[in-house]
Symmetry: C2
Subunit: 372 residues, 2 copies
């Protein structure tokens, strides 16, 4: 494994490139703004840890009032629990019996929840928790418009009844999350998609009550939709992830009214390793940052980042901007924070800004590569 790219107390200039750097002032303002928002709305905040995969950050979120975290993978749950997180919701379907056994074998003081969308999934889960002798909260996932996981709303009641047929499973409510809607640019189109998702959640809740059961909670909503779902009065819990860091993709979303604003807090530190007449080349390509939501943008300079492949980024100036010099630092804003974090073993946390700041902490990305 790569050694940590910096030590506590290092000046920013000494951080080995490419490295993932958190600007702590912006990061903490982001944490605080979402905590205040959720508290003001009277909603549970359960941030998605798939974004940061870091127990230290999860614990900071919980210290500010989050009820726990979400993850997508059993391996993430194991890694965060090992780092001290005691309330984890696997907001995704798990079918492999060995994975369910590993999850159920977590210490009994780790409160667990999981999503299901099939009878097979429920039965395998029930077998695992029975073997482990524990209880688990179960959310029936509905397809909130994305066409990925989740049942149709009308099927939610029957699936909830399947859940409570097993002693170790507690029906905790519904999950209704529309990943694609997070990234619709305009407020109006995002609102339309979210209103549709909310209507589906309402229909699913009706199916649950028609089946003679209470629906304790509806959970969902990411960093692009939490404000709309909060306003609906239907959701009791929001699951935003990216707000802690933000990224170039979310920055392209128009801001919704009455929503808190978040600042870029995550950067890839890169260095110019080649410089020619009309372009410079930095040492960060798409092994350093994910490009599924577009290329990174260059922070604070009028430079275009052009795809240079796995290990390089090509920079071209816009207008009269000067090219950076050989050896100079260039700060990149990743297109998509979640898969970018997954490329790195460490998060270097800097206090005092990107120019002249000091490394205050180096956090391991505990669940990096935890695909399992």
């Amino acid at each position: 494994m790569r050694a940590a790219p910096a030590r506590i107390g290092d000046p920013v200039g000494a951080i080995d490139s490419p490295a993932l750097v958190i600007e702590l002032d912006a990061f903490e303002r982001n944490l605080q703004a979402m905590a205040v928002f959720a508290r003001t709305c009277g909603m549970h905040l359960r941030p998605h840890a798939k974004t940061h995969k870091c127990a230290t950050i999860a614990l900071q979120q919980m210290a500010r009032g989050a009820v726990g975290v979400c993850v997508q993978k059993v391996g993430e749950a194991l890694a965060l629990a090992a780092g001290g997180v005691r309330d984890v919701f696997v907001s995704n379907e798990v079918i492999a019996a060995p994975k369910l056994a590993r999850l159920a074998a977590l210490p009994i003081d780790v409160r667990l929840a999981i999503a299901v969308d099939s009878v097979v999934g429920i039965e395998r889960l029930a077998a695992a928790v029975q073997t482990a002798g524990r209880q688990i909260d179960v959310f029936v996932e509905i397809d909130a418009g994305q066409g990925r996981c989740g049942v149709a709303p009308a099927e939610a009641g029957a699936l909830a009844r399947q859940v409570v047929a097993h002693a170790g499973l507690r029906f905790a409510g519904l999950q209704a999350y529309h990943g694609g809607a997070q990234h619709l640019r305009g407020v109006a189109e995002r609102e339309a998609a979210i209103h549709h998702a909310v209507a589906l959640a309402v229909a699913a809740r009706a199916a649950v009550t028609s089946a003679g059961m209470a629906c304790p909670l509806i959970t969902g909503a990411g960093s692009g939709s939490f404000m709309l779902k909060a306003a609906s009065g239907v959701y009791g819990e929001i699951q935003p992830g990216s707000y802690v860091f933000m990224d170039a993709d979310y920055a392209r979303n128009a801001a919704a009214p009455h929503a808190p604003r978040f600042a870029h807090a995550l950067f890839v530190k890169s260095q110019v390793v080649a410089r020619h007449l009309a372009h410079a080349v930095v040492d960060a390509g798409h092994k350093s940052h994910a490009i599924d939501s577009g290329l990174p943008t260059v922070w604070g300079r009028e430079l275009d980042f052009i795809n240079g492949g796995d290990e390089h980024g090509v920079l071209r100036p816009r207008g009269s901007e000067a090219l950076p010099a050989l050896g100079e630092t260039v700060w990149l804003v990743p297109g998509h924070c979640d898969p970018t974090v997954n490329l790195h073993d460490h998060l270097v946390a800097v206090r005092g800004g990107l120019d002249g700041g000091v490394v205050e902490a180096v956090w391991p990305v505990d669940a990096r590569g935890r695909l399992d």
Copy 2:
């Protein structure tokens, strides 16, 4: 870190998904075909280890006649040297003095080479090798048409003279690599780009000899161009990487005449975790496979893989193909092998095919995440 997804002797069915799986028969045929090709042409084969990042594979390549390997990063050189590789060419520019110091501090029995395209790079390199008391081979990189790293051919002679002005640096020749040309689909357009690159290499060699120096070697060429560069008679060394695994992107290249064929040997094992009326969902998204060169294809089935985000893939049938069942295994061919391997900690090597085979070895991806 994730535990190994399988143990030696496990049946294929027991491999924990998602996992990166090598089909050993195809893999070894690929290794052998390139070794035979290079030997037949009388060329040095120096495979690019940025593809596999695995010392075990590098040593297998060298056992079949490769003179050593290329890497793009100092961290990769360190990781492979720690795994027993004794001849490493950093085919990329390095400017940071601490990185050059780490490279130069490698054991003296590791033969080292590096690319340069600036006087600053040469001077910093010279300082590092002087401190370490060693020698290093230096290749002057020319821009072979990609517009990334490398000087214009006419400047190659002056830069070569700068190299030999330093006691610890040996001018080893020219690097002329055109990454983009590897992926031109048609043979004719790929030939045109490579002929241009070869012409630039010839011009650079002339500049070196005009400066009163010999040019011992011209190195370059990837898995899409090695056969063309070999035919040129100008290159003495080829650097193909992807041929060991192949990927969906290289499969879209038309085959060049007289070139060996390579088979898909790298797969992501995924599992269906949700299944609905018209689609199924597998547990592999773009944290499991890189999508910079397109989405994965589904191996052996008429299914389209649709982007389901970081942790999911959505499958839709073509024609009358049946949807896979909940819990079923689906084999994916990654769009681009290099950054896909970098997402995994282990390579699971299977003998006897993807259906019914057995795990013969589990290799660590030694240089995974070595961005440094």
